[in-house]
Amino acid sequence: MRELKGIPLNSRARIIGKISKNSAQTKETKSCILVTESIEKRIKGFRAVLCSASIEKTTALRLKMPIVHGVENIEALSEGDIVCVDMMTGEIIVVYEKNSVHNSILASTDCNCRCVMCPQDLAKDSPENLENNLEIIRLIDKSTKALGITGGEPLILGDGLIRLLKECKKRLPETQVQILTNGILLKENDYVRSIARLRMRNLVFCVPLYADTDTEHDFIMQRKDAFEDTIQGLYNLAAKKQLVETRTVVMSLNYRRLPQIAEFIYRNLPFAIHVAFMGMEVEGQARKNIRKLWVSPAEYAPYLKEAVIYLSRRNMDVSIYNEQLCLMPKEIWSFARKSISEWKNTYLEICKQCKVKGECGGFFAQPVEEHKRFIKPL
C-alpha cells in the first residue's frame, strides 16, 4: 500500500478517514480527513488535517484538531481515498484508492499456512484490526466495482469475517467482493453455511490450487492435508452455490504440470467461474526462496499456453495475471490481464520502446535480475 509521512501534532491516536480537499462543511465532513496546502482558521469538524506546508505549533494548537504537517508528495492523495493515519509516527497509509480497480481490505496479517512463495510478511493480528476494517468499509465509495478481502488468511477471523461481509453487503451492495483464501477452513460446512446465509450475490472465493495432486500442493502450502481440505471447502461452496475462482501461482515446483492442473480443475471443479494463472510476486518468502522457486518464463510459456488453451476450449473463463506480453506466445495474449496494483506496477527502461506496452501488465515493483534478462520490446 502507498505510504506518506509527515509530522504529527495534537493527537497520538490512529485515525481512519476519507480524503476531502474541500474545507467547507458538509454532512460528510465528520468522516473526512482534510488535505490542504496550508492551515486556515475556519477549518473545523474534520477527523484530521493533512497539510503539505510546515506550520507553527502555536497555530496548530489553536485548531485543536489532529494535524499532520509537512507531508511530502501530498498530491498523491485523491478525493475519496481512505487513509489510516498513525498520529504517533506521522505515517499515512492509503488503504483505499478511489481511482484504482485493485482495492482490498487486509483482513488478517496471520495465516494457517506458510506457503513457500508467500509474498506477505505475516504477523499476529492486532485486536483493533477488525474494527478498523469495518470503519474502512463504511467509508468506501458505493460505486467501487471490486473489493478484495485479503490476508494472511481472512477465514481465521471466523465470525469477524462474517461481520466484515455483512458490512460489505450493507454498504457496498453493488461491489464484487473477492475473498482471497486458501479455503482450508471452508471444509467446515457450518462456516460455509453461515456465509451462504448472507446471500451476497457478488461474493467470489479466490482459492489457490498449486498442484493436481496432494503431496505437491501440500508441500507448496507447507501444510499437511491442505489439498484435501481445500477441495472439500470448494465442494462445500459449490453445494451452496457460492462463486469460486481458482488461482495457480506458477513456479519451478509446478510449471511442468500446468496442463494437468488445468485438467484437474475442469474435471473436478467445472463450477469455477474463473481460473487464473499467476506470475510469482517476488517478495517475502518468495524472495528468500527464489533460487528454489525460480523458473524462467521462456521455459514455462509452452506449459502455460497448453493449460490456457485447454481451459479456453472447454468454455472456462481463464486469465493470466502478472505476466509480460513479450514472454508469452501470441495465442494467449487475449487472456493476459493488467492485474498489478497501480502502486506496485512498473515497467523497465527498455519497455519504453515497446509497441504493446499499453496492453501489457508490466511488473511488480522489483523484478529479479533473472527475469529482466528475458524482457524485450515488441
Partner: protein, 487 residues
Amino acid sequence: MISNSSVYMILPFRFMRFGLDILIVNEAGEYVLISGKDFDRLRNYQLDTKEDVFLNLRNKHIVTDTDLTLPVYLLATKYRTKKSFLNDFTALHIFIITLRCNQKCRYCQASSEDESRLEFDMSAETAKKCVDLVFRSPSPTIKIEFQGGEPLLNFETVKYIVGYAKKLNRMYRKNLEFVICTNLLGLNEEILDYLEEHKIWVSTSLDGPRNLHDANRITRKGTGTYDLVMKNIRVAQDKLGIERVSALMVTTRDNVYKLNSVVDEYVNQRFNSIFIRTIHLYGRAAKEKLGYDVGTFTKNYKKTLDYIIRLNLDGVMLSEQYATIILKKILTPFATTFVDLQSPAGTGISCVVYGYNGDVFVSDEARMLSKMGDNRFLMGNVHKNKYQEIFNGRVIRETVENSCVENMPLCSECAFQMYCGADPVRNYSIRGDLLGHRPTSEFHQINYLVIRHLMELNKQNDSDIMNVFWSWITNRSIEEIKRSKRG
C-alpha cells in the same frame, strides 16, 4: 523385483489395448493412455511416486499413495454428475398423434396407415389423459414431442395438447417445450402461425439431395417429396428462425456411400447440425433390405466425419451430433441427455411413448413390436391404468434393470463403458432377451467402433481437430474458442 505395494494403492479402473498403448478409464470416465511397459510397472507396484506416469494416474484417482478419502469422494461426486440424467425421471414424452401418413417411406418403422383411416387418430379424450400423466412426472423439464404417422394430419389434437398442457403448466410451472416431428408436406400459413405463436420446435427429415431423398421418402402415390420439402423447410426457417428448425436423416443402403453429398445438402439448406443415424431394421425397413453391414457404415461414417471436420475448418459451422454426444461423454465431466445411448437405458425413465389409443410404451421401437403383436414393452394404457401402475410396473423395472452396462456381459469390463449405453428393446427384438449378445450385436459394434475412432482422434490431439470438436461440444465458433471470454 522390488515392489512398491506398500507405497501405493490401485483403485478400480477398466482398460483395453489401444494400439501400442493401454487405455485406462476410471469410474468417472476420465482416461489415461500409458505404454504397455508402464502398465506392467503400474500393476507390479513398480512406479515411482514422483514420476509423471504416477502423477498422471493419481490425477485421475487410479492410484493413490496418500489418502483414500479424497479420491473416493471426488470419484463419487463425478460419477453422480455423469449419472445426473437419472435425477429427474421422465422428461421426454412422445405423442403418436396419428398413425395416418401422407408418405410411405421405404424404411418407415412406424408402419403408417392410409390417410383416410381416421380411426388411427389420437382423440382429444385420449390426449387429455396422456397429458394428465405427463404432468405426474417429477421432472422440472417436460418436452412433449409430436410424432406419427404425420402429426400435421391430426393438427387439431396437437393444438388441443398444447393448449391443455399450457393450462396445466400454469399450476405446475415446469420448463415446458414442444417439438413437432413432421415431413412438412402439409405445412400451411395457419399451421406456421400456430407453431410460431407457441414456440414449437420443428424437426423434419432430410436424407440428402433429390435423388437420395426421393429414393426412400415418397408419397403414398409413389412420387418424390424433395421439392415440396425444400420449399417448406425454407418457409419454416424464415418464419420460425433457423435455430428452431432441424432435420434428421436415416442412413440406408442408398446413401451410405454418398454421405458427403448428404452433408452438402444440409449445409445448403442452412442446417447447423446433422446426425448421421443408422437405420433401425423394424417394420418396412427390414422387408425392403435397406441395411448394410457394420464395416460399410463405420468406414463411410469416418470418411464423412473427416469431411465435416474439414468443412468446419473452412468456416462452415456444422456439427455431427453422434460424434458430439460421444465426445461429451469422453471429454467432459457432465451428463448427456441423449436417451438412446445411456446406462440404464432411457426406456420409460427418460423417455416414454403414448400411442394413438393411449397405450404407453418404453420407446418407439417398443410400439413397433406391439404393432407386430408382441406387447413385451407395453407399460399400460392411460384409460385403464394409474400412473403408478404404468411408471412403477413390471415392464419399466425389468427394462431398466436389464439395461445397465455396468452389469451386462462384456460391457461390465469394457473400457468404453462410461461412454456407451444399452438398447434392451433392440436386444429383445433380435435375440429374444433384454441383455442381448455383444459379439453379434450391431448396436454394440457400431458404438464400439465409433467410440474407438473418436478416442483415436483424441489421442492424436491435432489442434485443429480438437478446436472443431470443442466448438461442437460447447456450441461456439472456432474463433470464439481461441479467444478469451473477456474479449
